[in-house]
Symmetry: C2
Subunit: 290 residues, 2 copies
Amino acid sequence: MSRIAYVNGRYLDQRLAEVNIEDRGYQFGDGIYEVVHLYQGRFIDADLHLDRLDRSLREIRLPSPMSRAALLHVLAEIARRNRVTEGLLYMQVTRGVAPREHAFPKRPVPPALVVTVKRIPPYPTDVDRWGAAAITQPDLRWARCDIKTVNLLPNCLARQAAREAGAIEAILYDPATDMVTEGAATSFWIVDEAGSIRARPLSQAILPGCTRAALLAELAAAGIPYQEREFSLAEMRRAREAFLTSATSFVKPITQIDGAPVGDGQVGPVVRRLFEIFARHVKGDLRNAA
Amino acid sequence: MSRIAYVNGRYLDQRLAEVNIEDRGYQFGDGIYEVVHLYQGRFIDADLHLDRLDRSLREIRLPSPMSRAALLHVLAEIARRNRVTEGLLYMQVTRGVAPREHAFPKRPVPPALVVTVKRIPPYPTDVDRWGAAAITQPDLRWARCDIKTVNLLPNCLARQAAREAGAIEAILYDPATDMVTEGAATSFWIVDEAGSIRARPLSQAILPGCTRAALLAELAAAGIPYQEREFSLAEMRRAREAFLTSATSFVKPITQIDGAPVGDGQVGPVVRRLFEIFARHVKGDLRNAA
């Protein structure tokens, strides 16, 4: 079965789903995106993702293409038409099609909206097999990484470097300070040498991760302490455990960084517990049912 | 007459010229571009632009879509089919169409090439009317501004801020040091309070401007001294004269910055001379004839 994509009001065979060459997403990366996990036909943390979409759009002054209710309808329709119940929904909003100039179109044009879905394997059950290796890379990105834009070339280059090193993610650090920011497309956490769960506090330097926020809320609800506090590359190298979070990674143990084991190189007890907590969050999250 | 665009081997009505939604230019800004000035049917500084295109492609490891001779043929053909002799040629190369993931496509796909042209007014003859106002904006861009990528959202936001302030360009500065980098889509120069022509030296912080390089070569040939030396916002505010260069601005006097006059607010003698020198460069540049 060929995949179906939503493009500006139409449901199209994805191989034929196209946008004009003067779509500002193509010429300037002038757009915003989100990825939502679909589990047993339900959208996971949909409110968090759609709130962040609204925020990103506001930050670059891009109008919403439609109401939240209408967007949720399109997301559900794309899942339904593609018969995907375990997948990733991708949505992208750009500033539409206009004669090329850097400033916004003088005559307002409607924003463009593209939605696709792709099937993914069943939710991971074996945390030991879910673990993976990462590398470190200098964070070369712009000063507003809190906005989820499609200006993703530095992220692509970092991910490619990771793949070529046999790793699944690049952990980025500020080359001026050696402080870790986040993964190329994930939030990055450690369990530090004192045993504290640590995530970098939100700022313009990192994306406000939706899975990060959902996990922090679960930790708070379970009475598990954590710290939102920056950490350096050196602290990371002394960490007992490390992990990523994202809508596509869930809680993913990182057992090796730059070829060296994290702790003893095995999935540790804290990450094991957080993996289970987040799995329950996904499997029990009926609040955002489609 | 509708415009004709070149898209991946075909010449199309530009309104119908489209790329797939999974073109990596659209989803990641994973692409490179160039703009070449067309004067009386001739490409100005074409070798500089095509050398820079090659360099940008190499820096992000994107294969060339075709030989230089073939690309020059497409450029000439787009100019001819659109009957444009005074215009701007736009070319964009992206990493092609592949299932969305940050790392490069696992199975190599051909790079995508789009070429368009737009008509522009005749070359300016009155330097006093060619002058304009600018504003300053913090430089929020990534760490590799020497690569001419389509990750241009920060440039767009800065240009939009300029337009809303009644200006034509945003002069960017490093907020950590207050040193000027360049314009949002131009090179920026001053004639400092001692009368020296100053351009920021090339580094990863600015684009190696082709018009900048051409003008520097003309200055050297004419025995006019200049300095490639950084300057601060404060030095800029004390400057006698200021100007931009680019393939679309040529030499453009900046007579007002952030609402304050540069020098006496009129086009000064140095910029007036450089405008004439560059006009001769454009009008006499037969080296790169199409």
